[in-house]
């Protein structure tokens, strides 16, 4: 592991600095995309559980589209294809964004909207797992649709789906590595760059593998604590009981 403390060829620092910078981009991308995914995913998931109208259909089209196209192809869509389809001036402005923002922003949108489709499915499953009586009781108490979801249905649904959300939270960290294909130097790309500079393959990839393992462990711990903190006695064990 002495590799970490050796000077980089540009003379600006040590390889450790590259790893820290790569880790920083991985974390920023994962947390930023996670925020987008939670907001969009909840909205789409709620839309899919509405009784009728255009919204459930729109929700289904969204989920099927984003789930049935590989993440990498979606990445290329946001990075290569979209700027060409937009008006010339807008497209040029996107393409001329300074690095690393030119790859970070498309990667952020791509990963956020991709994960949103997966979260939407979980939110839908969580809401549909609640007994019908919850909706009826809420209506009887005079709740409108918005209040019913915000105060009655979603707080219970999120508790039910927390374990699967934990999985999704760990998946988004791993999926950030796909952003290296559009030029973002995140953690995996850092390993590749160090390897190309030093030919010390085992050390370069070994360090990065350990960093991913540690992230997974920490992410799991965080979610476990949240799970414990928000647990309701009546719902402990995961399912609703009469």
């Amino acid at each position: 592991m002495s590799l970490l403390f050796e000077a980089t060829p540009d003379g600006a620092g040590r390889y450790l600095d590259w790893i820290v910078s790569g880790l920083g981009w991985t974390l920023s991308l994962a947390l930023g995309a996670w925020t987008i995914a939670l907001v969009v995913g909840t909205l789409i998931g709620v839309a899919r559980t509405l009784p009728n109208g255009i919204l459930p259909r729109f929700g289904r089209v969204y989920v099927e589209t984003f789930r049935n196209i590989p993440l990498l192809v979606q990445m290329f869509f946001w990075y290569f294809v979209l700027p060409e389809l937009l008006p010339v001036r807008v497209g040029m402005a996107i393409k001329q964004m300074d690095p690393p923002w030119g790859s970070f922003v498309p990667a952020l949108i791509c990963l956020g909207l991709f994960t949103a489709a997966r979260i939407a499915e979980q939110v839908r499953a969580g809401v549909q797992a609640l007994p019908r009586g919850q909706i009826q009781a809420a209506s009887a108490l005079g709740f409108g649709w918005a209040g019913m979801y915000r105060m009655i249905l979603l707080p219970q649904a999120f508790r039910i789906i927390l374990p699967t959300l934990t999985n999704e939270f760990m998946t988004i960290f791993k999926n950030t590595s796909v952003a290296l294909t559009i030029g973002l130097v995140e953690l995996t790309a850092t390993a590749r760059e160090i390897n190309e500079n030093t030919f010390r393959t085992f050390e370069a990839f070994g360090v990065v593998t350990i960093v991913y393992l540690v992230i997974a462990l920490i992410a799991w711990q965080i979610m476990y604590r949240i799970e414990r903190a928000v647990q309701l006695p009546a719902l402990a064990g995961g399912g609703a009981r009469p």
Partner: protein
């Protein structure tokens, strides 16, 4: 900008060649992944603490790191491993396809292992006791009694994972392999037709995966109906 349909038509034979490689990776990944994954699942249930700890560690390691990182690892390690096996003392260059097949078997096995393990846990404990009472050997008990029931119980999840695997094959792009996306990229860069090529592969992936996921949904309904 205008989309040039003739460019898509001209590239189609090459894209289909790429799609064939994508299908090959999927088939090898599913077959090898389920076989190796089932062995891992059985190992995790083993009473020998060494065996179950090793299998658990392998599954957790693979599930914690990105597939792209595993592709790089295997890409660098396989030449060393083959050099060591043949005792030539130096790494031996191997084709990209072998690297890719090995990667997908090793990686997907961890995910299939978890699914098969869930299948084993869904079987009632009486089945295990009954196998022992009948005097079946461990091997025969798994092959004839336990495994078929476990697989049946998790068939929809296994198939859904296979659709995910099919989509994941696109990541072989990072070692410049010519799968469906790789073929599209090569044409796109040669002819300057990024928009046409990437939209076309997007549509191809969507049609195949959507059809497959609808099939899984129907099967799920039929299995649930049969179980009642």
């Amino acid at each position: 900008m205008m989309v040039d349909v003739s460019a898509i038509a001209a590239a189609m034979p090459y894209l289909l060649e790429g799609l064939w490689f994508t299908v090959q990776i999927t088939l090898v990944g599913v077959t090898g992944g389920i076989v190796f994954g089932s062995l891992l699942a059985v190992a995790r249930l083993s009473k020998n603490p060494m065996v179950s700890a090793l299998a658990t560690a392998y599954v957790n390691l693979m599930r914690s790191i990105p597939l792209i990182l595993v592709i790089f690892w295997v890409f660098f390690l396989v030449p060393w491993a083959i050099g060591w096996l043949t005792q030539s003392g130096r790494p031996i260059a191997v084709g990209a396809s072998l690297t890719i097949f090995v990667t997908f078997v090793l990686f997907e096995a961890a995910y299939y292992a978890e699914i098969v393990r869930a299948g084993f846990r869904s079987i009632s404990p009486g089945q295990y006791s009954a196998c022992e009472a009948l005097g079946l050997s461990k091997f025969h008990a798994y092959i004839y009694i336990l495994f078929p029931q476990a697989i049946r119980n998790v068939l929809p999840i296994l198939l859904t994972q296979t659709i995910v695997l099919f989509q994941d094959t696109s990541l072989v792009y990072v070692i410049s392999a010519t799968d469906l996306l790789g073929a599209a990229t090569k044409v796109a860069q040669r002819d300057g037709r990024l928009v046409e090529m990437y939209l076309t592969v997007g549509v191809i992936y969507f049609v195949l995966c959507y059809a497959a996921s609808q099939f899984v949904k129907q099967l799920q309904g039929r299995l649930a109906h049969g179980a009642r």
